[in-house]
């Protein structure tokens, strides 16, 4: 970063827990959804952390705790060095402009009765950072930065395409020059060609404005493109966390390995030659998470110990490559789930198939 900032983290989350109680569920009675179950990470200045995981793994809940849209059950959240998990709304107010969230659904996240100009101006009005002509100018500037012609300011959200609406969301989020942007699946609802332009836009803006970003997605190929570090979530817990390079070069947690092999690559020759591992079963319910390692019910290499003992998130082969798996070994590294699946694939009903394909 060229800006004269210290290297102190912009965001520091420690042991974050969020449990929802499901009042009177008619089928399972009441219970506790362990949506986020002890999550820790830091984001440095100008850093983009990709948070990846299956639907329901708790990614959005992490983002919503950080922006205080939901109250965390326990744990610490430090924004620019200030503990915000227990701040009152009023005390939180000056810090609000430092963190902004961009949502997945460009259709429902913008107020349909406001014009684009009003939507982008609103946070600046609320925080009193600009008014009158200066505010108008700033709105035009933000729209332009986000690739929208300023004459669009009088349009309403329903008059714009999905990609354009997502640009409006970004213009609004960045208007106050926040230190941290939480982007919750900002491109998941868009076509690939539109996705590409939004991802390019985020990279450009990040380079120019230098904000830090928690980029939430279920699509590993998206974070690979955009992030510096990656954290993989499974059932409310981070199961692997390291730099982008290390994660893709040496994925260690069996769940991360399966995510990587399951995402089809857009190349028929490569895709059909790959050995894939198809996991058995679905994501277990966060109402009733498995004992031990949360992944053991689907893990191709699980052993007895995995069913009883929760693996801690620690650096095994390298101090900055954190992984929560009993089978990662200091000397021999990560278990090879493809080999395990291939061996088990021969047995009938093993619940796994490897990518032994009929030739095309």
């Amino acid at each position: 970063m060229t800006s004269p900032r210290t290297d102190a983290p912009v965001l520091e989350v420690t042991d974050l827990v969020k449990h929802f109680s499901t009042g009177s569920g008619f089928r399972s009675g009441s219970g506790v959804v362990r949506a986020v179950d002890g999550v820790s990470f830091t984001i440095g200045p100008g850093e983009i952390l990709g948070l990846v995981g299956e639907s329901g793994s708790g990614k959005s809940t992490v983002g919503r705790c950080v922006t205080r849209l939901v109250e965390p059950t326990s744990g610490s959240i430090k924004l620019l060095g200030t503990e915000i998990s227990s701040l009152s709304r009023r005390a939180m107010r000056p810090l609000r402009r430092q963190v902004h969230i961009v949502f997945q659904d460009p259709y429902s996240s913008l107020n349909p009765r406001m014009t684009i100009g009003q939507i982008v101006a609103e946070p600046m009005r609320l925080h009193g950072t600009a008014k009158g002509a200066a505010l108008d100018e700033r709105v035009d500037e933000m729209l332009e930065k986000c690739g929208l012609r300023s004459e669009l300011r009088d349009r309403f959200p329903h008059e714009m395409s999905g990609g354009q609406r997502q640009r409006v969301g970004l213009a609004r989020a960045l208007a106050l020059e926040p230190s941290l942007v939480i982007a919750d699946e900002p491109v998941s609802a868009l076509d690939v060609s539109v996705q590409a332009s939004i991802l390019n836009l985020i990279t450009d803006l990040q380079r120019d404005l230098g904000f830090s970003c928690l980029f939430i997605t279920h699509d590993l190929s998206v974070v690979e493109y955009i992030s510096d570090a990656i954290a993989v979530m499974y059932l409310g817990k981070i199961v692997e966390r390291t730099s982008r390079e290390k994660l893709f070069r040496d994925p260690q947690m069996p769940y991360t390995q399966s995510l990587l092999t399951a995402a089809p690559v857009p190349d028929p020759v490569a895709q059909r030659e790959r050995t894939r591992v198809v996991l058995r079963g679905d994501l277990p319910s966060p109402l009733d998470p498995p004992s031990g390692c949360p992944f053991h019910t689907r893990c191709p290499v699980a052993v007895e110990r995995c069913t009883v003992e929760v693996p801690p998130l620690v650096g095994v082969t390298e101090p900055d490559h954190l992984v929560a798996c009993h089978l990662v070994d200091r000397e021999t590294g990560a278990p090879d789930i493809a080999a395990a699946a291939a061996a088990q694939g021969a047995e009938a009903g093993a619940g796994l198939q490897t990518g032994a394909r009929r030739p095309a």
Binding site: R27, N200, E224, Y225, S258, L283
Partner: protein
């Protein structure tokens, strides 16, 4: 331009076509005037073949697929021919079509929750199809329902058969939908974005099931998706659509190795994916396709892609590029076809 009889170009052996869609046009009449949703789509589908329809949102993939089993809304006008083993489905009565649907052609929609009835167990919903089309007894239908759930790899099918849709995860519901769709051994399965709502690890399982149906039962599949990874994984042949028009068709390896249409080139360049052995360079940009998809209010006599196309010249806006082979068995509708760079 005079109306062409058909811009259809055979891209494979036409003789063994199980399903042949010829010069399909679909128009919707709306309060604001007509919507030209599909203009001149043609393709053949052989038994055991998987054909992918790809393109951006709104380009007409779903309506093309829905016209085959006759599921379009009443404000639609459909022209052309849809031949299932030589029989034109567009000429059938509603009653005759109902007999074809579910039995010879069946459908899996994108949103599994809205297509299952929340009030009945999944077992009852599978039995219902079997009893209606196959005339099975309740007991036989129940046993077959359990078998079908096993076929789509639902764990403990004997128990799951008595569950309601809300008791299942999204991935399981989608597999139940597939079980219902293949209950009567259809010749053609139309799968509209069958994995779009699912996560990759669950998606991989559903794609394997579709592949298994093709390999084991010889089911022909029309696969609608906007995910080029899914196409690369599963499809034999691909039709690329843009704004209601087919712009390129080819065998899957041929298409990815030698994309001809600038739109297809743009789509392939826009996907973020790891290039093997290439260091990830910070600040690497994805390729964009600038501009917006055109409105479908008119059907102009020019290339529909011209306003966004980096190669467009005068000829592109003077008339419509015909869908003609630019390489063997590989038609593309473009005056300047070829691979980028």
């Amino acid at each position: 331009m005079t109306t062409t009889v058909s811009e259809r170009v055979p891209t494979g052996p036409a003789s063994d076509a199980l399903l042949s869609v010829q010069d399909l046009h679909i128009r919707f009449s709306t309060e604001d005037g007509p919507v030209h949703a599909v203009n001149g789509v043609s393709f053949d589908l052989a038994a055991g073949e998987i054909l992918a329809l790809v393109g951006e949102s709104g380009c007409g993939k779903s309506v093309t697929a829905m016209s085959v089993p006759g599921l379009l809304s009443p404000n639609a006008t459909v022209d052309g021919r849809i031949l299932l083993q030589g029989r034109d489905l567009l000429g059938l009565s509603a009653k005759e079509l109902r007999a074809v649907r579910g039995k010879e052609i069946s459908f899996v929609f994108q949103e599994p929750m809205s297509s299952l009835n929340p009030a009945f167990t999944v077992g009852k919903q599978i039995r219902e199809v079997l009893q209606r089309h196959e005339g099975l007894s309740k007991k036989a239908a129940h046993e077959r329902a359990v078998d079908l759930l096993r076929l789509v790899r639902i764990p403990a099918p004997e128990r799951r058969v008595d569950e309601y849709p809300h008791q299942m995860s999204g991935g399981m519901r989608q597999r139940v939908m597939i079980a219902i769709a293949v209950a009567c051994g259809p010749k053609v399965l139309v799968a509209d974005e069958p994995t779009t709502a699912l996560d990759v690890t669950i998606q991989a399982g559903v794609l394997d099931i579709l592949r298994g149906l093709r390999d084991e039962l010889g089911t022909a599949i029309i696969l609608i998706t906007h995910d080029l990874g899914v196409v690369a994984d599963l499809a034999d042949r691909v039709v690329v659509m843009y704004a209601g028009r087919p712009v390129e068709q080819a065998e899957v390896h041929e298409l990815f190795a030698h994309p001809q249409h600038p739109y297809t080139n743009g789509l392939l360049g826009a996907v973020p994916h790891r290039e093997k052995g290439v260091e990830l360079v910070a600040g690497r940009r994805l390729r964009e396709i600038p501009g917006l998809v055109p409105s479908l209010r008119s059907d102009p006599d020019e290339c529909v892609f011209a306003p966004r196309c980096p190669r467009s010249t005068e000829v592109c806006v003077s008339r419509r590029p015909p869908l003609e082979p630019t390489r063997p068995h590989h038609p593309a509708a473009c005056f300047h076809p070829g691979e980028d760079e």
